[in-house]
Symmetry: C2
């Protein structure tokens, strides 16, 4: 008798925050793996701000998820059946398996996760695309030097927290921007940031003046919107702005305002550059190796918010991301 496979599919293009009506929940039989294929059962599903963009019908760096298609997602799971020479039953793997309990894969883009080396969730976090985004974005685009002032927004989030730790390791002064006193405490007390600015408490501009008195050399932006604009006004000569995300804009229903202070780039001969981790695929091994060493040495720390549930809880858990309820990587752990 075939095993049922619960799936969450995109039901409609959301306007603003996704609602229950934007999703379809379906059940299919788990297919038998063909030649060169294997089946993986999801244990952790990754929740990422970028998902909101994939739901829009807009030209972007990746094609939109189609209506009726299983929602795209990275996940970590265990191989339950295999006709693939390189993957055996019981192996832990990560890949773009989608929001479903079981996925069939031919191994392309799949990375092995070794639970003996690091806890499984870290393979979706610090040792996964999240950590790699921080690693390549900060080092390759931000180009921080010891003594630089590095500001990161979404600093208590999955990417931001790793960015801050790496920047500290490189001898930078690190200022995090996050929402709420708990997150700000996490930054300064647990993650070793030099200062934290609570954007919900009010004046980001004054906070930047206080905590980055000589200006900002590197800004790693995960949020966009007004905060980006405030930081632009404080750039230092030759500053680098890394555009990694804009979570404040993803659910906007009106055309968001652009960064009015962009001419600070001209005055300060600064640059603002978009980065996507997928462009670094050939260097993933390098990044993962360094991050694994850093994780072992305590340079970076694994930080996750794990929500227990079933695959059907995905739509609700996704909203936690946009409400800023997580610190570190947000994961849905699928009950057995």
């Amino acid at each position: 008798m075939a095993t049922p496979n619960r799936q969450v599919r995109l039901g409609a293009r959301p306007v603003g925050l996704p609602t229950a009506a934007d999703w379809q929940h379906t059940t299919e039989d788990v297919p038998e793996p063909g030649d060169g294929q294997f089946v993986v059962r999801a244990e952790y599903v990754s929740l990422d701000p970028a998902m909101r963009g994939w739901m829009n019908d807009a030209r972007s760096y990746i094609r939109p998820v189609r209506i009726g298609e299983v929602m795209r997602a990275a996940a970590l799971g265990r191989v339950t059946a295999s006709n693939h020479p390189d993957f055996a039953v019981g192996d832990h793997v990560t890949g773009t398996f989608g929001v479903q309990e079981y996925a069939v894969s031919d191994g392309r883009g799949v990375i092995r996760a070794d639970p003996a080396r690091a806890p499984l969730p870290t393979y979706l976090g610090v040792l996964g695309l999240t950590g790699l985004t921080a690693y390549f974005g900060l080092l390759d685009v931000g180009k921080p030097r010891a003594g630089d002032t590095v500001v990161v927004s979404g600093a208590a989030g999955a990417v931001g927290s790793v960015v801050g730790r790496i920047a500290k390791h490189l001898g930078c002064r690190v200022v995090g921007i996050a929402g709420g006193p708990d997150k700000c405490r996490l930054l300064t007390e647990d993650l070793g940031f030099d200062a934290a600015i609570d954007y919900r408490a009010g004046d980001v501009r004054a906070g930047l003046k206080e905590h980055a008195p000589d200006g900002v050399d590197v800004y790693f932006d995960n949020v966009g919107g007004e905060i980006l604009d405030h930081v632009l006004a404080r750039l230092r000569l030759g500053a680098r702005v890394v555009l990694c995300g804009a979570i404040s804009q993803y659910n906007a229903t009106e055309r968001p305002a652009g960064p009015a202070n962009y001419l600070s780039l001209l005055v300060n001969r600064a640059s603002m550059t978009g980065m996507l981790v997928f462009d670094y695929e050939k260097r993933y091994a390098e990044g993962m190796s360094v991050l694994a060493d850093w994780l072992a040495a305590g340079v970076v720390t694994a930080s996750e918010t794990v929500v227990d549930g079933t695959i059907d809880d995905f739509p609700e858990v996704l909203l936690k991301l946009f409400a800023g309820e997580n610190t570190g990587k947000l994961l849905l752990r699928i009950a057995d």
Copy 2:
């Protein structure tokens, strides 16, 4: 008997376009040059969009002109008296001599102009900071490759026209954005641009779609505002936006809107980088040498709008710049 020196000074900080009330016209005696100094009589005064920024009391790449101070300006003139070992009476020189008939200089930042090698006005245009801005901005920041689509705004202006010619020389497809049919005709018929978009005629967006169907690899921006936003929406993967100026914004009396499409930088892993020619001072000789060769070979062409008048006409001539009445470099030629 001392010679009178007519001067134009900043009288007040303008709001919006400068008016007559923002200027003071004064007369002083031409001073005797001290030891190591010389006196130069202005023959051409340069008019540049950046001047509007210097009139504001705002932190920028250069200190604002003070109220009551002679307005800052580059000029070309002839040495009329000298106690400087390197400059003799009769020499032609360019420098930041200000909006006045006579200036005293110690030779710092002064560049010799040889009328036997090129017509005098070119030393403020193609062979001056204008040409150097195009040269370093396009090559160093824009990094065009043969086959790239290069879009330049303010394309009929001093910097833009040189940018377009250099890009053509490098084998790029060059699209200019300018105001009015005459300027557009100049671009395609005289300057060899592949296409021109008349922003005054209307739809820049449609024009970009037509003339840069595969998207934009390099955008050299002299104007900012809506045009920048339209081009951002058409960037190609890995595009480079060179922020050289924003003439559409300089006289704004309200806080201008930022480029709402800035997230195109993220989607396309593109960069937007500010450039100022002053950062390339150590390479001026290199740039001038290449530009002189290119001028002789017809790769770049000298294009100037020369207005005859007295130094007191400066305020009025400056307005021509913001009305877009010039093509190429705008110069005020001072009558003897």
